[in-house]
Amino acid sequence: MAEEKKPEKTEKSKLNEQILEHSYNPKFEILKPEEVKALLERFNAKIIQLPKININDPICKLMSAKVNDVFKITRKSYTSEDSVFYRVVVDG
């Protein structure tokens, strides 16, 4: 049984990597603590004032994000070339 399970897992993670690279999936990055600090300073905001993302969101699991991590999301935009968005990971 154990032998059968293993290849399935790698298959799945391969698929997940492909999902991350899919053109419909915007680029996700986890900010370093100092980058988070700079971001909050730039917008003069507290971390709870940032838009949120649930820890159970598939992307959090894929990128193994922790609570209070901040995602930098780069999307294509209709009005400008790239739009940058930030979301903080929250529990529940």
Binding site: R42, F43, N44, A45, K46, I48, Q49, L50, P51, S77, Y78, T79, S80, S83, V84, F85, Y86, V90, G92
Partner: protein
């Protein structure tokens, strides 16, 4: 004068009233359901008791001694013979009861679990705020209610069931409000927080009422009818029901009546108290008035569209306003409004007398009752006097600095003009008054777009600002001219329309020449009296030169007209609109340049010049267009859609060709030779091909119609100038209507395998599936007519169903987004600073100040380098 606000309200907290507080805030105990005695005097201890406030002028309040307007009213209370549930607290009561032990009042979860929840709650409060705590409470309740034995006292727990609307049962045994109070009293303050109740906000046993506060009479005034009969407020009716039942219950209790009677009366009391709070609870029949109308009790006073919030607080009735049907007047200024005399002589503007206006105001008093005049005079001590023939002389003598004169509306006054639905910033704009004869409000045609108005009977509202501040604000922020560019897409929403466009198109078309007389006549109509025109040898001047006279002298612009076709080689002088130093060198003026919602040239003018100038330039353009049409004449003829015989034959043969193409496509499909497109079935491929062929056919017909129409065809002028209609409409009249499409496909539903019984089953040909090869003018065949009716009805249904839905959707969006604002770092935030968008619109551009939604850097560089 209004009182000066000395304190600011920092926060408001709502709590549950305790019986003690109810007693303390009350001035009287209500003991009798009677309202008045035989003499019509309020009964002592009755509901209209004089201690609870005064509603009749002249009387004094028995509690505070103040008169009608100064006495705020005072509460009373009813002592209920048996406690009843407050229906609005039902959920809280239910939750508290079913998650606590009936014997010891502790939450039925073991200490460890509770401790865990307590910690979690603290964490949540810190991280996500007070409101999120409720989610934890829900979890606690859902777990505690299923415990079978109390972990503290070992009492066996019965499952408490709520039998709607408001009775509780424990294994068929009724739990009375008395029991509930008893149980709720046992719940510790510390546990309340875990159940989602704030111990500071009140004890849960207070949610079971023992005392009922009676609102003051000022809240439920009675009305004296003309017949002298008194009609009581719904609340008074309801309260007297409560007192009556309560009294009966009390008597029966004292007399030691059987349990069944007591319970019946108790239930009745519960019903009356419940409907006193809310009269539309499901499963409770609404309490009715004698006439059968449901009573309007406390909840209904507050709730929904007719309630206090939406009727009286969010929306109010106002004075100094007027409403009438609107009609067009091209001769008044864009920011003017034609006000009927009847309105002008009733609406007033207050004017404070000073040394500069005293002579003028005296003149107005003298002029009464002819317009313009003064209607009222207020002296310094605030006395109001009407200006009449008798009082005139006295007032003229009396008038001095500091008096206030209410004069009638006059030319040049600022008013606000509005058309509902007000979906826009531009739905209310400031206009200047122009008093005109007639009964309708007159508006310039160019401002119909921001109001979304037409003249098929639309009414609009006018408001007259009464203070200097209001007028200044309206002038600075709301004047029509300041609203030319819409913040929606950054183009003028006020611009030329219909006849203005047809006129300017005929005027500026290549080859349009005018004599000296004509030219000056046109310019005079456009209020230009000093044009410097260059005439040629024949003494003629081009329309483009005439148009240049209404442009600013230092204006430069380059853009495309509607005739411009990318890639086309034979360019005429009409394609590119080019203005250098206020001279129109090339290009025809159409909706792409000056039209509302499109005009780029107009946008450039609005950007560069101040508002008075912009107003005159736009007004002149519009007038010039109308003047041109007046001079040249402009008639849409039936013959506009006539075609020469040979063109007609040509169209027929072209259509024939297309249809045979369709037939051969069908043949290749049936014989299986057709190759399917990627991702499509063979059938879909065929449909796609046929639709393409038939659409091409209609386009060919369109171009044939266009090429063969005469130059001075007014229908074509309208289409090309963008005034009204398009070339497709003309092609459908003169040539063929074309394929009827229903939800993106050719018609196919109807009978088995065919749309109409006139065709063979399974016929895939053009005619059988909704191709209309005739035009509106030559007339449709019966089957074609039916096909056309199918798609027409679908379109009608679609619009009539979509409009209200999208309107409501828009309203909800506006309500959800209204408090968002763009802060200095260009991020969009809610009122408490939460970030919604990191850069407004993802590009940080204020559309209303941009070039149609973007910033044209090249243009700016060009302009700067030119300077």
């Amino acid at each position: 004068m209004m009182g000066i606000v000395k304190e600011k309200i920092g926060s408001i907290e709502f709590r549950v009233l305790s019986p003690k507080v109810i007693k303390e805030m009350s001035v009287v105990k209500i003991i009798t359901p009677e309202l008045y005695d035989a003499d019509g005097y309020p009964v002592e201890g009755g509901l209209m008791n004089l201690r609870m406030g005064v509603i009749e002028p002249g009387l004094r309040c028995r509690t505070c001694g103040a008169r009608v307007k100064d006495c705020p009213g005072h509460f009373g209370y009813i002592e209920l013979a048996r406690p009843v549930i407050h229906i609005k607290y039902l959920d809280f009561i239910y939750n508290a009861l079913r998650s606590t032990c009936s014997k010891c009042g502790k939450i039925s979860l073991d200490e460890k679990t509770l401790e865990r929840f307590k910690l979690k709650m603290k964490l949540v409060e810190r991280q996500r705020g007070e409101l999120e705590k409720w989610n934890i409470s829900k979890e606690i309740i859902s777990r505690a209610k299923n415990t079978l034995v109390c972990p503290y006292c070992g009492e066996k727990r019965e499952k408490l069931k709520l039998k709607k609307p408001y009775s509780f049962y424990e294994e068929k045994v009724r739990v009375t409000p008395i029991d509930m109070r008893e149980r709720l009293e046992k719940v510790a303050d510390d546990d309340l927080e875990l159940l989602g109740l704030d111990p500071l906000g009140g004890r849960p046993e207070w949610m079971v009422l023992t005392l009922l506060p009676v609102p003051p009479v000022t809240v439920r005034p009675s009305i004296t009818l003309e017949s002298g009969q008194k009609s009581e407020d719904d609340l008074t009716h309801k309260l007297s029901d409560i007192v009556r039942t309560n009294q009966r219950l009390l008597e029966n209790l004292n007399a030691g009546a059987p349990e069944i009677i007591i319970e019946d009366l108790w239930d009745l009391l519960q019903y009356h108290v419940t409907t006193f709070f809310s009269n539309n609870i499901s499963q409770i029949p609404p309490a009715r008035h004698r006439s059968g109308r449901p009573l309007k009790t406390l909840s209904e006073r507050i709730k929904s569209k007719e309630g206090r919030f939406r009727k009286n607080l969010a929306g109010k009735r106002v004075n100094f306003c007027a409403r009438s049907v609107i009609s067009p007047d091209p001769n008044i200024e864009i920011n003017e409004i034609g006000v009927p005399e009847v309105m002008a002589e009733t609406l007033t503007v207050p004017e404070r007398v000073n040394s500069w206006n005293i002579e003028w105001l005296k003149q107005l008093i003298k002029n009464s009752p002819n317009l313009p005049c003064a209607l009222y005079v207020f002296s310094q001590d605030g006395k109001k006097k009407r200006v009449t023939d008798e009082s005139k002389e006295l007032l003229l003598e009396e008038l001095s600095d500091g008096y206030i004169v209410e004069r009638t509306l006059n030319d040049g006054d600022i008013v606000l003009f509005n058309r509902q639905p007000s979906l826009h910033r531009m739905s209310i704009m400031a206009h200047r008054v122009k008093v005109l004869p007639g009964n309708t409000l007159r508006v310039n045609l160019t401002v119909t777009d921001p109001y979304n108005a037409d003249f098929d009977g639309d009414d609009m509202n006018m408001h007259v600002p009464q203070t200097e501040e209001a007028r200044a604000e309206a002038d600075e922020l709301m004047d029509v001219i300041t609203q030319i560019i819409t913040p929606r897409f950054g183009l003028p929403i006020i611009g030329c329309k219909q006849d203005h466009l047809s006129g300017l198109y005929t005027l500026t078309k290549e080859g349009a020449m005018f004599t000296k007389e004509e030219a000056f006549q046109l310019l005079a109509r456009a209020k230009v009296y000093n044009a410097d025109l260059k005439f040629n040898k024949e003494g003629l001047v081009s329309g483009k030169d005439i148009f240049s006279a209404v442009l600013p002298e230092d204006f430069n612009y380059e853009g495309k007209s509607g005739l411009y076709k990318p890639g086309s080689k034979n360019k005429s002088g009409d394609d590119i609109v080019k203005v250098v130093k206020g001279k129109l060198l090339s290009g025809v003026i159409d909706d792409k340049s000056v039209g509302s919602k499109k005009g780029l040239l107009l946008q450039e003018i609005a950007k560069l010049y101040d508002r008075e100038q912009v107003s005159t330039y736009l007004q002149r353009m519009a007038l010039l267009g109308i003047a041109t049409l007046d001079m040249k004449g402009f008639t849409v003829l039936s013959s506009d859609s006539d075609l020469p015989e040979e063109v007609f034959k040509d169209i027929k043969s072209k259509l024939h060709q297309s249809i045979s193409q369709v037939n051969s496509a069908i043949k290749s499909y049936e014989s299986g030779e057709m190759v399917s497109l990627p991702g499509r079935t063979l059938r879909e491929t065929l449909e796609q091909k046929i639709i393409n062929i038939l659409n091409r056919a209609r386009n060919i017909v369109g171009s044939l119609v266009l090429n063969n129409a005469s130059k001075d065809n007014c229908t074509i002028v309208m289409a090309q100038s963008g005034a009204k209609g398009n070339m497709l409409n003309l092609a459908q009249m003169a040539g063929a209507v074309g394929q009827q499409v229903l939800r993106g496909f050719r018609l196919k539903r109807g009978y088995e395998g065919r749309v109409l019984p006139h065709f063979k089953k399974g016929d895939l040909g053009a005619d059988a599936r909704g191709f209309v090869r005739r035009g509106y003018k030559s007339g449709l065949s019966p089957t074609e007519f039916f096909f056309h009716a199918i798609t027409s009805r679908d379109a009608q249904m679609d619009t009539s169903m979509r409009t209200p839905t999208s309107g409501y959707f828009q309203r909800r969006l506006i309500n959800a987004l209204q408090d968002f604002k763009v802060v200095n770092d260009l991020s969009v935030r809610t009122s408490n600073g939460n970030i919604v968008q990191f850069k407004y619109g993802e590009d940080g551009i204020d559309v209303g100040k941009s070039d149609a939604g973007s910033i044209d850097v090249d243009l700016i560089v060009k302009k700067v380098s030119e300077q």
